[in-house]
């Protein structure tokens, strides 16, 4: 293990090195994997089927990350630790852990959200198939995300990245008995894989041109002018961003995320809040100095994709009938906001939205899970009127909705406002308008979902009732966080969050508003309020949950939205089928006719040569030699053994004549 705080960290000398707390931060990365092993082997024999180990390990992570967060708030922590595991040429392959403002923030988000989701899942998954395995994968999922966010090298980042992908595959396909669910898992995996190829190539390019996998070294070189790095910066920057687009579900690679709703609801909550989709935003934030430095032009692309995502994702959420899919598209849209912020150079604003979004989106998903648990369907057309039947779920869900819609003083207001303010400050007026429209859409679809789920008459045929305490407690805890988590960064009042996440080895060069941008704020607020009002008018005042949709069914837009912009069709027809028919077939033909034939020919030739060698060289050469040696030995022995007559006196005679002979020779010679 080595810690590296060389000249590179000169800029970060004012921060603490974190002491023992930072040195043992590897515990929180390793612990989930140990826990997963223990659950695998002992889980089934435990009273709660291994869930207690999962919750216990996550609780430890929560406590530890909370301690780190406190330390970071009070002193600021920057430190990195490396363990070398090998090398290729001059490239060192290193794992390790980084403890700085960004990673600590992520530790805390992962720890908190995972803890609450795990507790919730204990009750939610009760009696489901593969209960123990579910907790194994869930623990691994959280652990993989911790590997990702704690990585000081791009290599470890890639490992964590792929681990997250695998775990999400396992969890989305938890109910794999149904074809639909297993295909959703495969879809998520493959869509991510497509993006991962970009990430992998980008990482290889960066590592080769910078001569190191260490992120801080690469960032240092990126900000201090390095010729090798500048040459590949643009391409590598785009490739890394493609990787981020896959994991963070950016348009047009977002298609896997709504399908990922096939997994159990706690998985959706975890995936959307903390452990998967934030990975892409985290990557962009981690590499932020790179995007600010040599790869600056890529930011335009990042910004464009972010804005497209936040708009198109939000539009899709309007037409969904599946409550979880509304939230899924909402996540797509909110991730669009985060990416937009990063693209606009607003590091703090993007991470701030990640932070608040993690809490209120986890809250919304767990609330949706609670509803689904009660009514046994995902479709909002079979819900309604749950306001009085499930009061706790209703109240917490309302808090989440208001937070997401961006009304003060809840979390979403501050983070979204900061993004709008940054866009306005950077002069992206067009994008600012779209982002404001996005805020309107957000408020609209969330209000629609709330009305359809909780107001009016119950339209299903079940007997819904409030969920168990184990499920409502996390809801309450998360709703508290959804209220207060925005208060850590109020422009002009308290901007602690900026310094939390700005505590990095490389100084972050970004804009973030010091005071309220009243124009942007009022725009955002107006958009949010009007979204709620319009939805209220449509679905409650002049219509109801059933008829509200009729008024906004503008053809052909509605049809396009219902078909998700025909993106799935495009992928199936444009990518999957051509590969299936043309590419796969020709590869198959190539395989059988060229490769197989070649291999067969080589095999036959080798067999022929082998036969010749066997009969001529082996049988006639070596074997004959060995045989004749043994036969010769046998013959000689047969002759010599005759001396051994067994007659003592004959031996003595021979012995005596020998002695006499020697004596005579000695006598004659001397």
């Amino acid at each position: 293990m080595s810690t590296s705080l060389p000249a590179l960290f000169a800029e970060a000398k004012s921060f603490s090195d974190g002491g023992v707390l930072a040195q043992y931060a590897w515990l929180i990365v390793v612990l989930p994997f140990i826990a997963a092993l223990v659950i695998t082997f002992l889980g089934k024999r435990m009273p709660y089927g291994g869930a207690e180990i999962a919750v216990g390990s996550i609780f430890f992570i929560f406590i530890y990350s909370f301690a780190l967060l406190i330390l970071n708030i009070s002193k600021g922590v920057v430190n990195e630790f490396y363990v070398q595991i090998g090398s290729i040429g001059s490239l060192d392959l290193e794992f390790g852990w980084v403890v700085d403002g960004l990673s600590i923030m992520m530790f805390f988000v992962v720890g908190t959200v995972s803890l609450l989701v795990f507790i919730y899942a204990v009750e939610y998954m009760k009696g489901e198939t593969r209960y123990t395995f579910f907790f194994t994968s869930l623990t691994l999922f959280a652990g993989s995300m911790l590997v990702l966010v704690s990585s000081p090298t791009l290599l470890q980042l890639l490992v964590g990245w792929e681990l997250v992908g695998v775990c999400s595959y396992l969890l989305i396909g938890h109910y794999w008995e149904e074809k639909e669910n297993s295909s959703a898992a495969i879809k998520a995996f493959i869509t991510n894989k497509v993006a991962d190829v970009g990430l992998m190539i980008g990482i290889i390019m960066l590592a080769l041109s910078a001569g190191t996998f260490r992120i801080s070294d690469i960032l240092y070189k990126a900000t201090h002018g390095n010729e090798n790095l500048s040459k590949v910066a643009l391409v590598a920057g785009v490739l890394l961003f493609i990787g981020a687009m896959g994991k963070s579900a950016q348009f047009p690679l977002h298609v896997w995320l709504p399908d990922a709703m096939a997994g159990p609801t706690p998985v959706s909550a975890l995936m959307h809040a903390a452990t998967m989709v934030t990975a892409g935003v985290y990557l962009l934030a981690r590499m932020f100095p790179f995007y600010e430095g040599v790869a600056a032009p890529v930011k335009e692309l990042v910004l464009l994709v972010g804005v497209l995502t936040l708009f198109f994702g939000g539009c899709l959420a309007i037409v969904q009938d599946d409550l979880k899919k509304v939230l899924a598209y909402s996540t797509v849209s909110q991730l669009g906001y985060m990416v937009t912020a990063i693209g606009a150079g607003a590091y703090t604003a993007g991470l701030m939205h990640l932070w608040t979004h993690a809490f209120f989106k986890a809250l919304l998903f767990l609330g949706a899970g609670s509803v689904i648990h009660a009514v046994h369907t995902n479709n909002m057309s079979e819900m309604g009127g749950l306001k009085d039947l499930m009061p706790k779920t209703f109240r917490t869900f309302i808090i989440g909705t208001v937070a997401l819609a961006g009304l003060p003083p809840l979390a979403g207001f501050f983070s979204k406002d900061e993004i709008l303010a940054s866009l306005s400050h950077e002069g992206y007026t067009g994008y600012l308008t779209i982002a404001a429209v996005g805020a309107f859409i957000t408020a609209f679809y969330m209000t629609r979902a709330v009305v359809k789920t909780f107001f009016g008459e119950y339209r299903g045929n079940r007997d819904p009732h409030e969920s168990e305490q184990l499920m409502t407690i996390p809801l309450v805890a998360l709703s508290a966080l959804a209220v207060v988590s925005g208060w850590v960064n109020i422009p002009g009042v308290y901007t602690g969050f900026t310094s939390w996440v700005g505590t990095r080895g490389i100084s972050i060069n970004e804009y973030h508003p010091e005071s309220f941008d009243f124009a942007a704020m009022s725009l955002g607020l107006f958009a949010g309020v009007s979204g709620i009002v319009v939805a209220y008018l449509l679905y409650m005042k002049f219509g109801n949950a059933e008829t509200g949709d009729e008024k906004i069914k503008l053809q052909p837009i509605w049809k396009i939205l219902e078909n998700k912009y025909y993106l799935d069709d495009l992928y199936i027809k444009g990518v999957v089928n051509p590969i299936k028919t043309a590419v796969a077939k020709s590869v198959d033909r190539f395989n059988t006719q060229v490769l197989d034939r070649f291999v067969n020919t080589v095999g036959l030739a080798m067999a022929f040569i082998g036969k010749i060698v066997y009969s001529n060289f082996d049988q006639n050469g070596i074997d004959r030699l060995v045989n004749s040696v043994s036969v010769g030995t046998d013959n000689v022995g047969g002759q010599v053994k005759l001396i051994q007559s067994g007659r003592v006196q004959q031996y003595l005679t021979l012995f005596l004549s020998g002695v006499l002979l020697v004596s005579i020779i000695v006598f004659v010679l001397y």
Partner: protein, 101 residues
């Protein structure tokens, strides 16, 4: 002191021993011939001890050793001969060919 006759006596004794060993077919006689050879050697030892007036009496020491060893050897030899005789009803050396190829 004239040692020649005594040496000749010892040599004659030794030669008789060799002759006995090589010619007699009876195992007991062979053992007796070996005793003759050993005693011829003893005579030589004693002779040279006396002749050289060795202070440490090494010749006498060795002859005593040889007598002891000869006694042991004859004991074992006779025992072997006895066992062979018991099993094969013969003491003829030509029939002792168990160790041939």
């Amino acid at each position: 002191m004239n040692i020649i006759p005594i040496l000749i006596t010892a040599a004659a004794l030794f030669s008789m021993g060799i002759y006995g060993i090589l010619v007699r077919r009876n195992a007991v006689m062979v053992l007796l011939s070996i005793e003759l050879m050993l005693n011829a050697v003893n005579i030589n030892f004693i002779l040279f001890d006396a002749f050289l007036k060795d202070v440490l009496l090494q010749g006498q020491m060795f002859s005593i050793f040889i007598i002891t060893v000869a006694a042991a050897e004859v004991g074992i030899g006779l025992a072997i001969v006895l066992m062979v005789f018991r099993n094969r009803q013969t003491a003829n050396l030509n029939d002792f060919d168990l160790l041939r190829w």
